[in-house]
Amino acid sequence: MSTVRSPAAAGAGASVGTTAGAGIASTPYRWTAPLLPWAAPLVLLAVWQVASDLAWLPQRLLPAPSSVIATAWAMAASGELWRHLGISFGRAAAGFVIGGSLGLFFGLLTGLSRRGELTFDTLLQMLRTVPSLAVTPLILIWFGIDETSKIVLVAFATFFPVYMNTYHGIRSVDPQLIEMSRHYGLRGWPLVRHIILPGAVSSILVGVRYSLGVAWVVLIVAESIAAEAGIGYMAANAREFLNTNVIVLSIVLYALLGKATDALARRLEGRWLRWHENYQKRAQA
C-alpha cells in the first residue's frame, strides 16, 4: 500500500493498524471514513446548485436546492411536512409489520413442514407473481381510500419477499448441522430455535430489506392515486399545481426514507450476524 498520509491522518491510522490489510477493500482508517459515503450526494447537490444559480437549469423544470430547502423549511415550520411524513410512516410500518409477520409465519410453516409446503406453497407462488401494483385498483375498491387500503396494500407487497426468503433460508440450512444437532439431542422447537432459525436469519434479513424498499414504493403509488394525506398525496397534489419545489422535496424524502430503512435493516444484520466473519471485520474496522 502506498498512500500518502498527512501526519494527523497517520496518527489516526496507526491506532487501529492491526485491522488494516484485511478484507477485499482495505484502506487505512481515517476520521473521514464515516463521512465518505455522503461525499458523492453532497457534490451532486453542489453542482446542481451552481447550475441553477448560473441559470443552466430553468427554475420551472428543476428548482435549485436552496429553494427546495426553503420550501421544506416552511412546510416543516407549519407542521404540514411532519403530518404527511407521520401518516406515511405509520402506514408503511403497520403494513410491514402485518405483511412481514405473515410472511415469516407462512415461511416457517412451509419451510419446516412438508405438509405445510404442499398445502400453501403452490398458492403463494402463484400470488407472488402478481405485481402488487396490479391489485392496487381492486384493493382501493374493496377497502376504500382510507387507511385500511394502504395498509393492506403494503402488507400484500411486503409479504412475499419475507415469505420467499424465510422459506428458502430454512431449506438451505446446512443438513450436516441439523444431523449433528439431532445426534446431540436437539429436537422439535429447540432445534428450530438454536439451529434452523439462526441459520435462516441472513436470508430472512435479505427479505426484510427488500420488503422495506417495496413498502415505500407501493405506498407512494397508492397515496398518489387515492389519499388525503401522506407524502404520495403531497407529491400528487403538487403535480396538479406544477409546484416543482414540493415534487422535488418528495423525491428527496423518498430517498432519505429509503436510506433510513436500509440503515435500520443493516443494524439488524450487524446485530444478528455478528458471528459471521464478514461482520466481525466490519465491527473491528
Binding site: 450436516q176 449433528m180 445426534h183 439431542g185 439462526p198 458471528w275
Partner: protein, 269 residues
C-alpha cells in the same frame, strides 16, 4: 431382505449424565456386539454382513479404502441411519446410562454459537462449568468466548471433541476426524485422543484411511473391504507407540499389504 432387529445403542443414550459427577469418575466403556449387519442404499449393498465383538474400553481402528463401508458402519452404530438387516446391541457396563457420541469428519460447529455454547449444545441446566472443564481437557480453555470462525481447523476439531466429551460417552465414534488436518496438528490430536481415552476408558471406534494412525492408536485394527471385515489384527504394543520400532512397522506393513492386496511382508521374499 431379512427383517432387521436392530437395537440402537443411541436409544439407551441418556444425554444428561449426573451433573455432579466429576469428570475423573469416568463411566466404563460400552461393549458392543454386531451380528450379520447389513446395509444397502437403493439396491447397492454397502455392508454385507459384519460380525464384531468389541470389548468395553477397547480402542478399535477401522481402515479401508474409500467407499468400503467403514463410515456407514459408524453411522449405523451411532443410530443415524437404520440398518437393512442384522443387529447392533450394546452391553452397558457401569452405571449412569451410556451415551454414544459421534465425531464427524467435519467439525460441524454451530457458527452462530460461541465455542462454549457449542460444547454445551443440547444440554439443559447448569452445564457451563462442565463445558469449561471439557474445553480445558482439549486445551482450549482460553477460547471459550470465541466464535468458531476465529479458530483454526485443528482447534475446531478440538471443540468438536470437547462437545462429545461433555456427554461422558461410553462409546466414542470417530469418523476420520483428523482427515483434513495438517501432519503436525494431526499428530497432536492423535496424542490428545489417546490421552483422553487412557483417562476416561470409553470404547472407541476410529475410522481412518491412515494406516499409521490406525496402528498408532488401536488395540485392534480392522480392515473393511467391500462391506466385509477382511482383517482383524490385535495389537499389543506399549503406549505411547514409537513409530519407528520394528513391531510397529511390521504391523503397519501387514495392514497396508492387505489394503493394497499385496503379499504380506513375511511371504514377500
Amino acid at each position: 431382505m431379512t427383517t432387521a432387529s436392530v437395537v440402537h445403542p443411541a436409544r439407551f443414550a441418556q444425554p444428561e449424565p449426573a451433573a455432579q459427577d466429576a469428570p475423573a469418575a469416568a463411566p466404563a466403556g460400552m461393549a458392543l456386539r454386531i451380528a450379520s449387519l447389513r446395509k444397502s442404499f437403493g439396491g447397492q449393498e454397502v455392508l454385507r454382513g459384519i460380525d464384531l465383538d468389541i470389548e468395553a474400553g477397547q480402542f478399535v481402528s477401522i481402515v479401508g479404502r474409500s467407499g468400503c463401508g467403514k463410515s456407514t458402519l459408524l453411522r449405523l452404530v451411532a443410530g443415524l441411519e437404520p440398518a437393512s438387516g442384522g443387529s447392533i446391541s450394546a452391553g452397558v457396563r457401569g452405571e449412569g446410562g451410556a451415551a454414544v457420541r459421534l465425531m464427524f469428519q467435519e467439525p460441524r460447529l454451530v457458527p452462530w454459537k460461541s465455542v462454549l455454547d457449542n460444547v454445551g449444545l443440547g444440554l439443559k441446566g447448569d452445564w457451563r462449568v462442565r463445558a469449561g472443564v471439557a474445553l480445558q481437557e482439549v486445551g482450549l480453555a482460553d477460547h471459550a468466548a470465541k466464535w468458531p470462525s476465529q479458530l483454526s481447523g485443528g482447534q475446531r476439531q478440538r471443540v468438536a471433541l470437547a462437545r462429545a466429551l461433555i456427554h461422558q460417552p461410553s462409546l466414542l465414534l470417530l469418523d476420520e476426524p483428523l482427515g483434513a488436518l495438517d501432519a503436525l496438528t494431526r499428530l497432536e490430536m492423535q496424542q490428545l485422543i489417546e490421552n483422553l481415552w487412557l483417562r476416561h476408558r470409553f470404547t472407541v471406534l476410529l475410522v481412518t484411511h491412515d494406516v499409521e494412525e490406525a496402528v498408532a492408536l488401536g488395540d485392534r485394527v480392522l480392515l473393511i473391504d467391500a462391506g466385509r471385515v477382511t482383517l482383524d489384527l490385535a495389537l499389543d504394543m506399549p503406549r505411547t507407540r514409537q513409530r519407528g520400532l520394528p513391531a510397529f512397522v511390521h504391523a503397519e506393513e501387514t495392514v497396508l499389504a492387505r489394503v493394497l492386496n499385496r503379499a504380506p511382508p513375511g511371504q514377500a521374499a
